[in-house]
């Protein structure tokens, strides 16, 4: 029988909680996109109201980590795990907030946005959801190779982000351009791009807790010229 059963149980509990939180955050991205594509203010409102669930999960995990540090004095990989968990939950919580930000724009829209949504936005959302899914998978299996792979996919999101910016700026500057629609959509594009950044952070923390090494930031090769 392995030693320190209670300790190992505590680590497993925290692991499971993070997974649960991650799944919830991933689901919220889908809900936010559905609300956007269907101009569904009611669904948007629910997303905003449910944000407290994710916040509570984060606080709960934080509390468990602190108790663990206080009573079990983890070292080496366990210590890195606890440290990384605190960072990972912070990033997950921020991704949740960004979904809420999207929901707020949908809720406050004075007219239908959905028919103006450029194709690049659902494509970005699809990429980001896939990244969250794979990154959670990498976390559960402690798969550093997969984590690094997901980390690299941020570039594709960046590329789409600049594409989206160009398209929306065109919409703004066209005669009769709809600023009331284009501006919220610009924000949404930006929110999705930020989500991918948080996922890359999580990937870095996965590599860190397993190996003790820091993943170097890769500079994006995305075409950043966004004025036509």
């Amino acid at each position: 029988m392995p030693y320190r059963q209670q300790y190992i149980q505590m680590l497993e509990d925290i692991n499971r909680d993070v997974l649960r939180m991650g799944s919830r955050v991933e689901h919220t991205i889908t809900l936010a996109m559905d609300a956007l594509m269907e101009d569904d203010a009611e669904a948007a409102e629910k997303i905003i109201a449910d944000d407290s669930l994710v916040n509570n999960m984060e606080r709960d995990i934080e509390d468990k980590c602190v108790r663990m540090l206080a009573t079990q004095t983890p070292v080496a990989r366990d210590l890195r795990f606890i440290f990384a968990i605190n960072k990972i939950t912070k990033d997950l919580e921020r991704i949740g907030d960004l979904s809420v930000n999207i929901a707020q724009l949908v809720k406050n829209a004075k007219e239908s946005i959905s028919r103006y949504v450029p194709k690049v936005i659902p494509a970005m959302a699809e990429q980001v959801s896939g990244m969250v899914r794979d990154c959670l998978d990498a976390f559960v299996r402690v798969d550093v190779t997969l984590a690094k792979d997901v980390h690299k996919r941020d570039e594709q999101v960046d590329t789409r982000f600049y594409e989206g910016l160009r398209e929306l700026l065109r919409m703004l500057s066209d005669n009769g351009g709809k600023a009331t629609v284009a501006v919220p959509l610009l924000f949404i594009t930006r929110y999705l791009e930020r989500m991918a950044d948080h996922i890359t952070n999580i990937c870095e923390w996965i590599v860190y807790f397993d190996t003790g090494e820091r993943l170097e930031e890769t500079s994006s090769t995305a075409d950043r010229t966004w004025l036509f």
């Binding site: 392995p2 030693y3 320190r4 300790y7 190992i8 004095t73 983890p74 070292v75 080496a76 990989r77 366990d78 210590l79 890195r80 190996t211 003790g212």
Partner: protein, 291 residues
């Protein structure tokens, strides 16, 4: 600390012989393949090479090669029976009197072979030892400290007083006992008795202090005092400490060696060992998953 105690200088021809041995050993050390990382920057005051130790048929140490740098603290950790205390004792020949002990390999202190080139009394004066449980002699505090210098022939009362005071100050015990120097040491608390033990070792002005679980019988406050003391002593002494308290190793030592079944599984900078150990067995042990 001012050198108050001198051992009779070896005669000239012995000194020459020593120089020869020293030179030969240094060449051997420099050519040795097992020098630890950064050996060039720090000088190893004690080192072992391929040290095997047998208690009868049982092999307690297997090819242990360790460098202990001057003015550093080296910690030895590992589960009970892993050989860490046995290893510590080989450094000042405390195993000599254990029946059935056989030692192969080499231990060098200050360039000379501990088992060939030293008189054991001289070795133990220069490589002192503090034990797990406090062991004051049943005599006054003063006499406890003066015991060693007296054994080495010091009779001058003034000098003895000076040594006693300086040793007690170095062991951060002076203020607590200065008014009761001539009362029995057995009346001191456990923590004070352990610091008395350290002061007793310091009184003969050693170069290396070996400590075998010096705080395992002490409460947290006394432990903190000893740890503070050990960290201070590093300035003037080289310290090797066996401890079951891994946080203690983490707090005070510069390097840590992890022993398992008589072998050194991993050895390196303490921070690295507790942050990112390379061997799975080290990881499991320091995380409390076995042992």
């Amino acid at each position: 600390m001012q050198k108050l105690l001198t051992i009779e200088k070896p005669k000239a021809d012995i000194q020459d012989k020593r120089k020869d041995i020293l030179h030969k050993n240094m060449v051997k050390y420099e050519n040795s393949a097992v020098q630890s990382e950064g050996a060039g920057e720090k000088e190893a005051v004690i080192y072992t090479r391929d040290l095997d130790l047998y208690y009868g048929d049982f092999q307690a140490l297997k090819s242990v090669s360790i460098d202990i740098d001057r003015n550093s603290i080296m910690a030895f950790i590992g589960p009970s029976g892993c050989g860490k205390s046995t290893f510590l004792k080989t450094l000042n020949r405390m195993n000599d009197l254990v029946a059935g002990v056989r030692i192969d390999g080499e231990v060098y202190f200050d360039g000379l072979n501990v088992y060939k080139d030293y008189d054991v009394a001289e070795l133990r004066k220069r490589v002192g030892m503090v034990f797990q449980s406090p062991n004051p002699f049943p005599m006054s505090v003063f006499d406890n400290i003066a015991y060693g210098p007296r054994v080495h022939g010091l009779r001058d009362k003034g000098k003895l007083e000076q040594i006693v005071e300086e040793s007690l100050r170095s062991a951060v015990l002076w203020d607590e006992v200065k008014d009761r120097l001539h009362r029995s040491a057995l009346g001191l608390s456990g923590g004070q008795q352990q610091r008395l033990g350290i002061a007793r070792v310091l009184a003969v002005q050693p170069e290396v202090v070996l400590m075998d679980e010096p705080t395992s019988a002490l409460d947290p406050i006394s432990t903190a005092k000893i740890e503070e003391l050990v960290t201070m002593l590093k300035k003037d002494y080289t310290i090797a400490i066996v401890t079951h308290n891994m946080q203690q190793a983490g707090r005070i030592s510069d390097k840590t060696a992890f022993f398992l079944h008589g072998e050194v599984v991993e050895m390196g900078a303490t921070e690295e060992i507790f942050y990112s150990p390379k061997d799975k067995r080290t990881e499991d042990y320091i995380s409390g998953r076995f042992g």
